[in-house]
């Protein structure tokens, strides 16, 4: 159904998960919702529930405890879904790299589609990352321009 595929890239609902970040990136993610950036222009809504989400936005490095939760949440997001790692820590572990309790970046646990680097990642970068993810999704479902 063309209309469904076309809609899939118009309405990304986001689930934001914080592993063990310093909260810098989380504040930037929330900043996207403010009138200054207003991601709802693109139909993005910040959901509190993986079952309603399309895009899993993860901040912070994965530690041993959050790895289990992250996997559980990912499995509860219905297909088609995208994962965006926001911030240096989520991409690679950042300053926490090689800590005793840290596994590393999100890609140690989940297949990541888009990496948004930055410490903390700027809201523009995050929005850009989501748009990039959507383009990837568009290619996957075959409605890319």
């Amino acid at each position: 159904m063309g209309i469904i595929r076309a809609s899939q890239i118009k309405s990304p609902w986001i689930l934001h998960f914080d592993n063990s970040s310093c909260n810098g990136c989380d504040i930037e993610v929330l900043a996207c919702l403010t009138p200054l950036y207003d991601v709802e222009r693109f139909g993005m809504v910040n959901m509190g529930n993986p079952k309603h989400a399309d895009v899993l936005v993860v901040t912070g490095p994965v530690n041993y405890r959050t790895a289990r939760v992250l996997k559980n949440l990912y499995s509860q997001v219905p297909d088609p879904k995208m994962v965006i790692a926001v911030g240096t820590c989520a991409c690679s572990g950042g300053v926490f790299h090689n800590c005793y309790n840290i596994l590393g970046g999100v890609d140690k646990v989940l297949p990541v589609d888009v990496y948004v680097p930055g410490c903390a990642a700027r809201p523009e970068a995050i929005i850009d990352g989501v748009v990039l993810a959507l383009q990837k999704l568009a290619k996957a479902v075959g409605v890319a321009k």
């Binding site: 159904m1 595929r5 309405s11 709802e40 139909g43």
Partner: protein, 286 residues
Amino acid sequence: MNQVWIAIVAIIVAPLIGGLLAGIDRKITARLQGRYGPPLIQPFYDFFKLLGKTRIATSRTQFIWLYGYLIFMIAALVMLVLKQDLLLLVFLLGFAGISFVLAGFSCKSPYSHFGANRELLQILAYEPVLLLMALGVFATNGSFMISEIFESSTPLLAKLWPIFIALLVVLTIKMRKSPFDISTSHHGHQELVKGIMTEISGPYYALVTLTEWYELVLVLGLIALFWANPLWVEILIALAAFVLELIIDNINARMTAGWMVRFTWAVGLVLCILNIAYLYFMKGVS
């Protein structure tokens, strides 16, 4: 035969109107918050996107209750456009609500149960007001039939304005707007994850969205009955009520479920009772 066509047209057109109203809702809300807001047809994008998602569920019977929700809502709408019995319409609307509650109960999820219990309290809060509205209409027109409303020359609002105010409170509950967005909310975040909607995802979510569009049209239709003739006033009064709800939504915080029941019973019921008592009294005098 004519009636069948009216019903079919209503069933097709109502969700379009409902979806568009939902879009207007998001746009106006965004503007009130100083944002630009999503496109007007964003609710339709959301709807179709949800249809394309995988159907994951936590219970095998849940979708049957969601169907019940949709079907009884449509039935109530058909009763409205065919100008049938108001009382029966309210009963159907009530069962639609119950069916939704049972959908919430039918999986073992704490959030969903909280939401369902709260939804039940909402039904307890608004159902008497709706039934009393029907009684008020009877006291004015001498009939429960909606068709009679259209035949009378004076608008209901003249005699039933207290009930109209009570109905606006019901509209707030039905549209899931603050201060009554208690069982679930259209905004992303709330304290019960997503309340009764927590375990309803993908196409099932789309089903609920569709039903809510029907519901919106139906409840606004009930509001419009208060000034049934001519048509443009009818539409205007419904739209005015709709915009009023959006403003109420944006200037209020969410209240507790107990407060909601107390408020609707203390304010809504008392308004209805006074109104009906007055009507009966006047009838007795004349």
